[in-house]
Each structure stands twice: as structure tokens, then as C-alpha cells.
């Protein structure tokens, strides 16, 4: 929605909030994949890669999210590693 309706701040703000929440709240595996056994003990790679996809999308929003830019850019580079 943030991609399609660029002019509407609601979606962009929600993306920023959820992205922050993902990074802060969830556990990470030793190599950095997001993991949350409360959501699912199964399919951890599925969830981790979908979250990574969401964060990549958040990092690449055009125009970039204010205040979050540095963080997500670094995260983006992290996933590129």
C-alpha cells in the first residue's frame, strides 16, 4: 500500500512502525535471521525471508522513510552480505 499510494502518509508510517517493531522485538539467530517462536516454531526460514523481504521493501520505499533511512539502508546492506 505504501508503494502504491505514495501520497498517503498512513501507509508509510505504518511500514516504518512495523519495521522498527520487527527489528527491535524479535529474536535473532546467531547469524542474524529474525526468529520468533511465539509466532511459529515451524517454517522459521519462511518467516525470516518474508520479513527480510518486507524490510527490504521498507528500505527501498521511494521517497525513503525519514528517520529510518540510515537504519534500513544499513539493514539492506546487511541482507546483501
Amino acid at each position: 500500500m505504501a508503494q502504491i499510494f505514495k501520497e498517503d502518509e498512513t501507509y508509510r508510517n505504518n511500514v516504518a512502525r512495523e519495521a522498527d517493531a520487527l527489528i527491535i522485538k524479535h529474536n535473532k539467530t546467531p547469524k542474524g535471521l529474525l526468529f520468533n517462536p511465539e509466532i511459529s516454531k515451524w517454517g522459521s526460514l519462511r518467516y525470516a525471508s518474508n520479513w527480510a523481504y518486507f524490510l527490504l521493501g521498507a528500505a527501498r520505499l521511494d521517497p525513503p522513510l525519514p528517520n529510518h533511512k540510515v537504519k534500513y539502508t544499513s539493514l539492506f546492506l546487511y541482507f546483501k552480505k
Partner: protein, 370 residues
């Protein structure tokens, strides 16, 4: 006027925002009454409260859907002797990929990302059901499930298998296709650079083709082929399967919103990709997507009530609002019909009534909807 949709509370009387409500599928809400009553309603009926503008601009939608011709049922395969054929000369797959340049390898700490892309695409090719063509790159796979759908006179032989089993579940398969399509749209330079763009596009085409044939008329959608329990008690290859493969059909009397809306999303996303490659195919994708969305939106029911057999495997825990929002968003992106913009925004509001669940999966797309 807004309307509210609450099938679960049909014929129930409730006092809401100082008004007596009878839930009879549809209710009306004064525009002035928001946001108080809307918030109230949302809190109380998080999964079923639904807000949106009343009627779609049906004429614009018809214009699109009249432009495509549906594929006719072709019974040729049903007369075949066997429903599968193992490969005559099975071999291991030997993936080949374009090696990254030295500079990129340094950046990725030696990880070969082209290898990852290549192999992930091959995975979907190994999951192919139906008659394989000359483009098959998995030498240990042969023709399978050629007779799927014969009993109901539908061509359901293709598509993707679910996981390690051989059931075709439309909801997770269509979701995979939507997400892959999104990946292609957003990152096609990366696919192109790794020389895999064509492969990934034809990889999702396999599932898109199936979704279209699983939708033989506007208000019919085949959401599952094969029985989970029967299938899981068989230990063997799909080429040699002989068990009963029941077909589960969604109709106006027996609707299922989630897979239908998800298929609409996948086909809409696919239509954007194929617009440049094959305009006629793209129009067909969009036409099917529009009809599927109308079917999903007008006849709402959580699909595990219509297909109880699915509940053990892919029950929709999160309800259908996320799929409807997601599909409307994709349809807007593909068709630019203003109605879908309104619809997507409307469903989005109903998502936010519910607390965000932070997971992304075949079931819950609320986060991706953002």
C-alpha cells in the same frame, strides 16, 4: 453511507454506538457517525466488521473482463492410460549459474547470490505437476497428475505441488506466485543481471496457467486437488500415484474467500509482468483476476468452512480481510481502476482494527499489505 458486513453475526441484535443494529449481512452506517462508531465496531468485530464504499463501478470492470477469452476444457489427457509417466532417463539436476564478478563477491563475502537465485527458481520447477514440456530442467521429474480434474471436466493437471507432498492447495501456491511476482517487479534488474529473468517469469507462469484453468467460469474456483490424508499416506513419486484425488470446488453456495482473492492477487501481479511480454496473455490474467475478486468479495466465507478437509493443513486463521485488501491493492496496481483503490483502502482500515500480527505467511498478509 458506509456499509458494514458481518456474516458471522447474522440475525443478531446489538446495541452499537447508541443505535439498535440487526446484523443481516449488510448494515448501513452514517458517514457522520464515524470515526467513533467505526472504531467501536472494529474493536468489537475485528475480523468480520467490514467498511467500504457501496457498489463497484461494474461497467469499468466488465470492460476489462470482456476482452479476454477463457480457455476451453480440453479432455485429451483424460483418455491417457496412466496419470503419470516417470522420466525414461532420470538424472540429477545440475544447476548452472552465471558467476558473479570479483567486486560483487567481495561485497557479498564470497556468497554466490546468483547461485541462490538459480536454485530457488529450480525448486519451483521441481514442484511442477502436469505434463512437462521440453523446457523442463529437472531430469528426474516426469509427467504427473495428468488426470486431475477429469471427473469435473476441468483442466487441473498443471500447477505446483504443495511441499513434500502432492496435493495442490490453491491458497499457499497462489500466495507464493504473488510474492514471486512482486519480487520480479521490484527486483527485475537483479534477476536480469543474474541471467535468470526469463527462468523466473516462466517459473511463475506455470502456476498462473493453473490458476486460470482452475477458474472455468466467473463464480467457480477449484481451490484444492488431492486429499491431504490420502496423499500423506502414500510414499512415492507423483509420477506413479494412483490414489483417489478429489477436487474441491468453490461456488456461490459454497464460497471461499481466501484462495479466490489470493488467486486474484497472483493473476493481477502476473498481468503486470506479462504486459510487456505477451499482451494477450496479460489481458487474460487481468480478466480472470477481476472476476475472481468479484467472486471473492461478493460471496464471503472463510474457506475452511466450505472445504473442511483443508482445515488440518491450511486453515485460514487470520480471516479473509488481509487477502481482500491484498488482492484489491494488486488489482489497483494492475488495472488502475479507481474502485480498487477505494476498496483496498477500505479493507486496510479493517485490518488495522485488528492488532497487527507481525507475521507474514500464506495465511496472514496484513503486514505485506502495508
Amino acid at each position: 453511507m458506509y456499509w458494514a458486513f458481518a456474516p458471522k453475526y447474522r440475525d443478531k441484535y446489538e446495541q452499537l454506538a447508541d443505535k439498535e443494529w440487526k446484523f443481516n449481512f449488510m448494515g448501513k452506517l452514517e458517514r457522520d457517525a464515524e470515526p467513533k462508531s467505526r472504531g467501536f465496531f472494529c474493536d468489537k468485530y475485528p475480523l468480520h466488521g467490514q467498511f467500504g464504499e457501496p457498489d463497484p463501478d461494474q461497467s469499468t470492470i466488465n470492460e476489462f473482463s470482456e476482452q479476454f477469452t477463457r480457455k476451453k476444457y480440453n479432455p485429451t489427457l483424460c483418455s491417457a492410460k496412466e496419470s503419470g509417466k516417470p522420466p525414461s532417463n532420470p538424472k540429477n539436476t545440475e544447476p548452472k549459474w552465471v558467476e558473479a564478478e570479483e567486486g560483487e563477491k567481495n561485497l557479498t563475502k564470497g556468497y554466490e547470490l546468483n547461485e541462490v537465485i538459480t536454485k530457488s527458481i529450480l525448486f519451483y520447477e521441481a514442484q511442477r505437476a502436469g505434463p512437462l514440456g521440453d523446457d523442463n530442467r529437472i531430469p528426474w521429474r516426469g509427467h504427473s497428475t495428468l488426470k486431475d480434474g477429469c471427473k469435473v471436466k476441468a483442466n487441473l493437471e498443471g500447477g505446483w505441488f504443495d511441499a513434500g507432498d502432492h496435493v495442490k492447495f490453491a491458497l499457499p501456491a497462489a500466495f507464493s506466485a504473488t510474492l514471486l511476482a512482486w519480487g520480479i517487479l521490484d527486483y527485475h534488474p537483479a534477476y536480469e543481471a543474474s541471467g535468470e529473468l526469463e527462468n523466473v517469469v516462466y517459473s511463475i507462469k506455470w502456476e498462473l496457467d493453473w490458476l486460470m484453468t482452475a477458474h472455468p467460469s466467473p463464480n467457480v474456483f477449484y481451490a484444492q486437488v488431492g486429499d491431504g490424508d490420502l496423499d500423506h499416506s502414500y510414499w512415492g513419486t507423483p509420477e506413479k500415484m494412483s490414489m483417489e484425488r478429489p477436487v474441491y470446488k468453490l461456488t456461490t453456495q459454497n464460497p471461499g474467500t481466501e484462495p479466490t482473492a489470493e488467486a486474484a492477487a497472483a493473476l493481477a501481479a502476473g498481468s503486470i509482468i506479462f504486459r510487456q511480454i505477451d499482451a494477450e496473455y496479460s489481458t487474460a490474467l487481468l480478466g480472470h483476476a477481476l472476476e475472481l475478486f468479484a467472486f471473492a468479495d461478493r460471496y464471503r466465507k472463510e474457506y475452511h468452512y466450505s472445504i473442511p478437509e483443508v482445515a488440518k493443513f491450511y486453515k485460514s486463521w487470520s480471516g479473509y480481510n488481509d487477502e481482500l485488501c491484498w488482492a484489491a491493492g494488486w488489482l489497483y496496481r494492475a488495472s488502475e481502476i479507481e474502485y480498487f483503490s477505494e476498496t483496498a483502502r477500505g479493507y486496510y482500515k479493517s485490518l488495522k482494527c485488528n492488532y497487527a500480527s507481525s507475521s507474514i505467511s500464506w495465511d496472514d498478509k496484513s503486514l505485506l499489505g502495508e
